[in-house]
Structures are given as C-alpha cells and as structure tokens.
C-alpha cells in the first residue's frame, strides 16, 4: 500500500478547513478543531473570527495556541474579555459556528465527552467532561464536529449525552427548552463528511474522503446511516494546505504528531 503524504489529522484538518464560511464567528475546541480553523483563516476565510471561551476575541497570533487560554489567544486581540462574556456571545446568538471533538457520537449528533461505561458512578473510563462543549453545542447556530471514525465512537446510543445534538429527533431540542433553530451541522472524520437530514435530523453521509468507499464508512459506523443521493468525493489535501498547516499553524507538531502513529 502506498504511503500517504499526510497523516489522518492533517487530512481531517485540511478537509474541514474548506467548509468554514468567511466572515462568521466561531468557537473551536483545542486540538484538531483549532487546527482546521487556523488553517481556514490562512487560506480560505481570512475574516473568520475566532472567539476563545476564556476571553480572547479575534487575535492576530499566527501559531496554534497550546491551551484554550494561552497568550496566543489574546495576542493583538480586538477584545480581551472573559468567560461569561464569551459564553454570553454564544447565548445571544452571535456565534455561527461551534467546532467540537468528542469520544462518542450517535445518529442525532449527541456527543459524549464525559464517561465511557454503562454506570455513571462506576465508569469504565472517566473523560474530561463537558468543558465548554455543552454551551457550544447548545447555543451556537451550527455545530461542527470532528473525530475519528470507528464503531466504538459512532454508536447507537452514547453512554452519556454531554452535549445535546438533536437528542431523540425533530423538535426534541425545543421541547427540552434549548433555543430553537440550531444544532449539529457537519461531522468530519477520516472517512467522510456527514450532515443531518432535514426532516429526520439523522446523520447522513454527504461526502467520502479520498480512497474511502461507502461500504467502509458503513462498516465503521455503529448505527444506521442515511446516504445522500448526491454523494460527493473530497479532494486530497493540497500542497498549499499542507504547507500552511505544517509550517505556520503547528510548526512544533504538537497536535499534528498525534496522527503520525496512525499513518
């Protein structure tokens, strides 16, 4: 098998970066979401405004922050605010995109980053918890999700709904008293890109990554996936994307190197 010119993290970051609209506000979790946003800002969306939950708004720093709050998040920022203010921007509907990771996801885009196991009080693995994810997924208009794709992660029922997706389906968010009109928008994995079918709010395969078949995606997914009628094929990461990612965004390969083992 031919050795790829990029690792899975580089791949996902490059692909996702193409889907970010310019001129919008976005909250992004550390790690791969931040990689994709930083890359998008450099190539596709120069006016994409990053808001960090600890208070940095639209910094000019060129390197990836290593922490959600580090000095790169406020470097020459247009505003240096705080957590309540950032969260209230979300709560008031100013923020178009939230970009999240997660340990498990189900067909309605419900996300788990709290615990793995069947008994909350006796977790098989305790995870970090919500962090800002619950606010991002509850309050941003469109939630983007990026995560590795396999049957342990794409599950019939998440062990714990840390962050609400469409919960049990159409209307469930509104019935739970979440603000109306928002929810999961796109899911990016190393296999494909997924949206949510309008009527059922169920996850739908929308696009395949280079070299991936729909059968592979189905095999790695633990729930019944809707397949789009117009299934797209994503293009390989471009040399321009890879160069910016490696030289500008994460030159120390702090995040990128985590994908090297899987190459």
């Amino acid at each position: 098998m031919e050795k790829k010119q990029y690792n899975p993290i580089e791949l996902m970051a490059c692909i996702a970066s193409r889907y970010l609209e310019d001129g919008r506000l976005i909250f992004a979790g550390t790690g791969i979401p931040m990689l994709a946003v930083s890359l998008a800002q450099k190539i596709y969306a120069p006016n994409l405004i990053l808001v960090y939950e600890a208070g940095g708004i639209s910094p000019e720093a060129s390197m990836l922050p290593l922490s959600v709050a580090d000095s790169r998040t406020t470097y020459r920022a247009i505003c240096c605010a705080n957590m309540p203010e950032a969260m209230e921007m979300l709560q008031k509907g100013l923020v178009t995109y939230a970009f999240l990771g997660g340990a498990q996801i189900d067909m309605y885009g419900n996300l788990n980053s709290t615990m793995i196991g069947k008994d909350y009080w006796h977790p098989q693995t305790r995870l970090p918890g919500s962090g800002g994810a619950n606010e991002l997924g509850s309050l941003a208009w469109k939630t983007l999700i990026i995560m590795n794709h396999n049957r342990r992660r794409f599950v019939e029922k998440v062990d714990f709904i840390t962050t609400p997706g469409y919960l049990t389906g159409p209307g469930a968010r509104e019935r739970a008293c979440l603000p109306p009109g928002n929810g999961p928008h796109l899911v990016f994995t190393e296999l494909g890109i997924f949206d949510f079918e309008e009527k059922s709010k169920r996850m739908r395969l929308k696009s395949l990554l280079p070299g991936i078949t729909r059968e592979k995606v189905i095999a790695e997914t633990g729930f019944e996936l809707i397949i789009s009628d117009k299934l797209n094929q994503e293009k390989e990461p471009t040399p321009e994307e890879l160069k910016a990612l490696r030289e500008d965004v994460d030159p120390w390969r702090v995040v990128l190197s985590r994908g090297d083992n899987d190459q």
Binding site: A69, Y75, P123, G129, S138, P164, L178
Partner: protein, 334 residues
C-alpha cells in the same frame, strides 16, 4: 417556584447570600490595609482544610502553581470548582487532595494528551465513592460564579437543557414568570477560598491582569477569603495611573503574596510562555498506570523541595525562565 425538572447532582457549596454579606461587612473594615505577607502566612490565615476552593487561570495559563505546591506539602484537602482545569487540579487529584468536585473540564492536558494514571485513579475513587462529583459545563460554572459575584442565589442560563450533563448537575428547570417559557436555573457558587495569580498588585490588593480573564473576576468577587499571588507588587500610584486596568479592587482581597514566576510551568501572558518541556516530563510520568513514575515526579519536584524557588531551580531556574520569556515575546509573531 414550581420545579419542573432537576438534576440529581449534589451542591457542594452553600448558597449563602446573607452570610456572605455579613462576611463582607467585616472585610470592608480592612480598607487601605497593607496586606503583604508570605505564602505560608497567607495559607495559614485564610485557607482551611475542607474549604470549598476556587482557583484562577484556565487551561495551562496563569495557574497559581506556587500555591498548589504549598497546599500539597501541607496535605490540605478541598472541595473544588473545576471549569477547564488541567495541571493544577491533576496535581491535587493525583494526591487525593480533593473530596468533592464540580466538574467543567478535568483530567485533560489539552494538546498534551491524557494523564493515564490520573484518569484511572479518579475512576477508581469515583467507583469507591471517595470522590464525589457533580457535572456542569464551563459556561454554567462561570455563570454560577457570576451569580455569587452579583450577590444573588441563582442565575438563569440557556445551556444544559436536554443533556445528561443537566441530569447529573444540580440545575433546575422552572417556568419563567415573565415569558411563561421553561428556563434553566443554576445555583450561585459562593467559595470559602479563592487564589488568583496576577501580573501586578499594590500592597492593598488592587490587581491588574494581562491577557484572558476567564472567570477570575467573578471568582474573586464571590470568595469569602481571597489570596492574590502576584508576579510583582507595584505602587498604588501606578494603579491610579490607569484605574481602568484594575480588574480586582482591594476590597475583596485578604492577602497579597509576591511570587515571581508563580505560575510556572504554565503561561503568564506577556511574561513567560508555558514550559512544554517540563509539562511533558509530568505528562510522561502520568502515562505510567502504576503511578510509580508520578510518585517520583512528586518526590523530585514537590515533596522533595522546601519551597517554590527550589522547584524553579530544579526546572532550570532563571536561565529557563529567560528562554520562556523569549518564546513568549516572539511567539505571537512566529
């Protein structure tokens, strides 16, 4: 106020607006008092075993590590607020110094991955009931601090709804008496003690912070006892030169402790970047699931040092700090 739904989590801190008022009345007598003291005196006077504690900073930024080391050496145990805590709370969790925890984000080292031992250890303590937790989110934790900073007993929020996070929180759902819509309320979080590391403070406790503020202003305003550790102490004249920069006024402050590099190995915006090398030493030790490597880490860096200065020396001292300053000043523009 009919409760339509509520989480089954426990509230670990008392909701005491009136008691807080009485406490603040006594505290306001201490206007224009010189509050400088060393860390040991500050902890001795203002931190008690079993306190509900909240600490400043976020992620790997502006964490009061000098304070954390000292309470580890003293083996003090706390109930704690944890919205996006990393290294600081891991140090306390590794050493069983936390009994009850309000969780936003724990056990993650952000970009650096996962401290395997800490994760296993915490899972086991949870299973045994040695560690009690209630689930929240970073926003709801910030708003809980904010409610207390306002002096009230609860705050309306629009997140949490519909999730298991809500189910394991202590939030409640009620009907808004103005709109008739269902809304979520979170309880105010009044802390017994709070510690915040700042860039500059005068001897009375008027504080300036550069970079992100997280929910530190709200924590400072809602803690019964507040210790400020500061990179340096400046003259009150300098504070008065630009009062708009004062993020914590003196009235909330009980102790001002000068500790240069007190946030090392975390990032102090504008002064020094986080020490990725040292943090990797910790992270690698935390990969050992037996806990032996971490034991050695603590022996070497915490219990085997008499104070924070000795720790700094072990980590490379001034020379290393100078390197981190260079990285910090260069970094924005690399």
């Amino acid at each position: 106020m009919e409760i339509l739904d509520q989480g089954n989590g426990e509230i670990f801190s008392k909701i005491t607006p009136d008691e807080f008022r009485r406490h603040m009345f006594a505290k306001a007598e201490r206007v224009n008092l010189d509050k400088r003291m060393d860390l040991r005196e500050a902890i001795g006077r203002f931190i008690k075993n079993g306190d509900y504690l909240s600490i400043g900073g976020c992620g790997f930024v502006r964490l009061p590590i000098a304070f954390v080391h000292e309470v580890l050496r003293r083996q003090l145990t706390f109930r704690m607020a944890a919205g996006t805590r990393t290294f600081d709370v891991d140090l306390l969790l590794d050493n069983d110094r936390i009994t009850e925890l309000d969780i936003g984000y724990i056990l993650g080292l952000e970009m650096l991955g996962i401290p395997q031992y800490t994760r296993i250890h915490v899972s086991e303590r949870l299973s045994r009931g040695d560690l009690k937790i209630t689930e929240w989110s970073n926003g709801s934790m910030a708003w809980r601090h904010k409610a207390a900073a306002m002096g009230v007993s609860f705050m309306q929020v629009r997140s949490l709804a519909g999730s298991d996070t809500f189910r394991h929180s202590a939030a409640k759902k009620v009907k808004c008496p103005f709109t008739g819509e269902e809304v979520i309320l979170v309880p105010a979080l009044y802390c017994d003690a709070c510690v915040i590391h700042v860039h500059r403070a005068d001897k009375y406790g008027n504080c300036q912070i550069d970079g992100m503020l997280n929910e530190d202003l709200e924590k400072a305003r809602s803690a019964k006892n507040l210790i400020i550790t500061t990179e340096k102490i400046i003259d009150t004249k300098e504070i008065r030169n630009d009062g708009a920069r004062t993020v914590i006024p003196q009235f909330y402050v009980d102790a001002v402790v000068e500790i240069p590099c007190g946030a090392y190995p975390t990032n102090m915006p504008g002064l020094y970047y986080l020490d990725l090398d040292h943090l990797k030493v910790y992270t690698r030790a935390a990969q050992d699931r037996t806990g032996e490597n971490l034991k050695k880490y603590y022996r070497d860096y915490v219990f085997g040092t008499k104070d924070f200065n000795e720790y700094l020396e072990k980590c490379g001292g001034l020379k290393r700090i100078e390197e981190l300053k260079k990285i910090e000043l260069m970094e924005g523009r690399v």
